[in-house]
């Protein structure tokens, strides 16, 4: 029991990071219909932006904002100047997946070329530790949990109570019908890239806030649990992704405590396989099933 309670604490932290990253990933895919495998590398790039900001002596909060802003702007530009032109040119699904993975490689290796093969860490004030119900958190980890909760609440409010959220959900369900109903789907898609990009950047920064050091492949490695979260929740389902993040975050940290830290990602993978076998449309999805039939 002694190792399990702190492991749940770590699990909550991991789940928070996964929730931010997973919701961004799934929203991007659901609304824009582009499977962006460069997502993890944009997270890494945002982490490097935060690294530069904190290195210049600014606070972590500013670094978070800078990372989110970078992710947002980069995602919009990527979509505007690369993905959309390819789609317009008639590149099909297979082609688009390869385009995104090409971007992933280019981005990852550009970071490697610029920053070098080394370990980096954010300059942060020495964190104090806080005990809550047998779990130990650093102040940075508490901040991560807080950021995730606020981000999830904002996404919830956006999707449920704003016109934009409604338009996004409509576009995700059926883009043609949405367009015919007078929704400016192009603008909605741009905004979806902006929002999911911001979540991506934010996730990149909080990911490296939680580790002692990061490299150019940190984000790409994190793509495994992100994909597991997205599939578990049902692709394109932000609420599913939130639930998925909680399951995978806690399960993988428990596995790390009980078996070995090397098995964190393996557990995420095993859950992914089980979901694919038992319920390929994800745990929370009605839209996805209908989409599958129509696809």
């Amino acid at each position: 029991m002694n190792t399990l309670v702190p492991a749940i604490g770590f699990g909550i932290v991991t789940a928070s990071i996964l929730a931010v990253a997973g919701v961004g990933f799934t929203l991007q895919f659901g609304v824009t219909n582009i499977l962006n495998l460069a997502y993890g590398d944009i997270m890494t790039a945002a982490a490097f932006v935060a690294y530069l900001v904190t290195g210049a002596g600014f606070s972590v909060w500013l670094a978070l904002a800078a990372g989110a802003a970078f992710g947002s702007v980069f995602s919009i530009l990527l979509n505007r100047f690369l993905y959309t032109p390819f789609v317009r040119r008639g590149t099909r699904l297979f082609g688009m997946i390869i385009v995104t993975i090409a971007v992933s490689l280019i981005l990852q290796n550009s970071l490697l070329a610029v920053f070098g093969a080394s370990f980096f860490s954010l300059q942060m004030p020495r964190p104090a530790s806080v005990h809550i119900a047998g779990m130990v958190f650093t102040t940075a980890q508490l901040a991560i949990i807080g950021i995730a909760i606020v981000a999830m609440l904002l996404i919830h409010l956006l999707l449920r109570y704003t016109k934009l959220g409604k338009a996004m959900r409509a576009t995700a369900t059926d883009p043609e019908l949405a367009r015919n109903c007078g929704i400016a789907t192009d603008r909605v898609i741009d905004l979806a890239w902006a929002i999911s990009g911001a979540l991506c950047g934010l996730a990149g920064v909080i990911l490296v806030m939680n580790v002692t050091s990061f490299t150019d492949t940190t984000g790409a490695q994190f793509l495994i649990p992100i994909i597991a979260v997205a599939v578990l929740g049902g692709i394109g389902q932000p609420y599913g992704a939130m639930l998925g993040a909680l399951v995978i975050g806690i399960a993988s940290e428990l596995a790390a405590a009980v078996i070995s830290p090397d098995y964190k990602n393996v557990v995420a993978f095993v859950i992914l396989v089980i979901v694919l076998l038992a319920r390929p449309q994800g745990i929370l999805s009605e839209i996805a099933t209908r989409k599958e039939v129509a696809a």
């Binding site: 090409a102 280019i106 495994i224 994909i227 070995s260």
Partner: protein
């Protein structure tokens, strides 16, 4: 020709053979059957490890490398076993990845499989010696034939060429048969193929397994030649090099894919060997990957069908189809 050049050229030829085989295998999956197999490299790796372990002999306790199930099998057997293991791994991966899922799910799952396989092989040191990998794999037939190192090199080129021909024969049979036609139909319009009563999942699985077998064999030849294999040689971006080769050459066309293998993994990556090193360590490597990525993007933009595009297949009209032809006026513009 000086000995050094002979050595270099024979080495490049073996690499070319391995890459051509691998590209044919990937083309069967991606170009013909439309499977976006981002885990392709793990099938090559599985074949390589199998062949290495089966030639190395049992691991000695406390030896410098630890692995499972070593044996001293004579020459062609480890390569055949590698093919079998590649195929079995494909059955295993396919059993959960190739189902009636949306294709994007499939691609994602494959990528994850590739990343996970690397992490397992690296962390499970007892399996295939972890991050250090296997080394000192004995060269096949080296003790039996009495050849100079150069002579042996050319012998190996011959072996590779023979196996290459066998693989070509296999992929040619598949792609030019009704089976190949069905696979292309599934790639182009799955619903229509299913509506015509084709077993879509089963046939895609078949292509996946065949590709896995070929990948395994290619890995076996590579490891028997270079005598070493470690997780560093099969990270997921390596799959991307093969994808780029298939796209550059002309996906769906065996001949085109061969040209692609000659252009991308061999000519292009060998050429950078002669570029003087500059920048910090790892800089050239990073640059190489960036250029491979850009190459893929450029080809997808300008020549998505590759250097030698897939042949547009035409079938002579039969009496039946003649009767069903639409009016001539609607056929213009094709």
């Amino acid at each position: 020709m000086s000995v050094a050049w002979q050595f270099y050229i024979s080495t490049v030829l073996v690499y070319l053979g391995v890459d051509v085989m691998a590209c044919w295998g990937l083309n069967l999956q991606f170009g013909v059957a439309g499977l976006v197999n981002f885990a392709f490299i793990i099938f090559q790796a599985a074949g390589a490890y199998t062949a290495a372990v089966l030639t190395l002999g049992p691991a000695t306790k406390g030896g410098f490398q630890q692995y499972l199930g070593g044996a001293h099998w004579p020459f062609p057997l480890p390569i055949l076993a590698a093919g079998v293991v590649g195929g079995l791994l494909a059955v295993l991966v396919g059993s959960f990845a190739i189902r009636r899922l949306r294709r994007d799910y499939e691609a994602m799952v494959m990528l994850v499989v590739s990343l996970i396989a690397t992490s397992i092989a690296t962390n499970q040191v007892g399996l295939v010696n972890g991050p250090n990998g296997l080394a000192l794999v004995p060269k096949p037939l080296a003790t039996m034939v009495n050849l100079t190192p150069i002579g042996y090199q050319w012998l190996f080129v011959g072996i590779t060429a023979v196996i290459c021909l066998c693989v070509y024969w296999l992929v040619h049979i598949v792609t030019s048969s009704p089976l190949g036609r069905t696979l292309r139909a599934i790639r182009d319009n799955e619903q229509a193929a299913a509506a015509l009563g084709k077993n879509v999942t089963g046939l895609r699985m078949l292509a996946f397994v065949l590709g896995g077998v070929i990948a395994g064999v290619s890995g076996a030849i590579l490891v028997e030649f270079i005598s070493a294999w470690s997780p560093g040689s099969w990270l997921y971006p390596e799959t991307f090099v093969y994808f780029t080769a298939v796209i550059v050459g002309g996906s769906g066309n065996n001949l085109g894919v061969m040209v692609g293998a000659l252009l991308v993994p061999v000519a292009f990556l060998e050429a950078t060997r002669f570029v003087p090193q500059f920048g910090p360590p790892g800089f050239i490597d990073a640059l190489q990957w960036i250029i491979v990525g850009v190459l893929a993007l450029v080809f997808l933009w300008f020549w998505p069908r590759g250097v030698i595009p897939e042949r547009r297949r035409r079938f002579p009209p039969t009496a039946q189809s003649e009767a069903r032809q639409p009016l001539p006026s609607t056929r213009t513009g094709r």
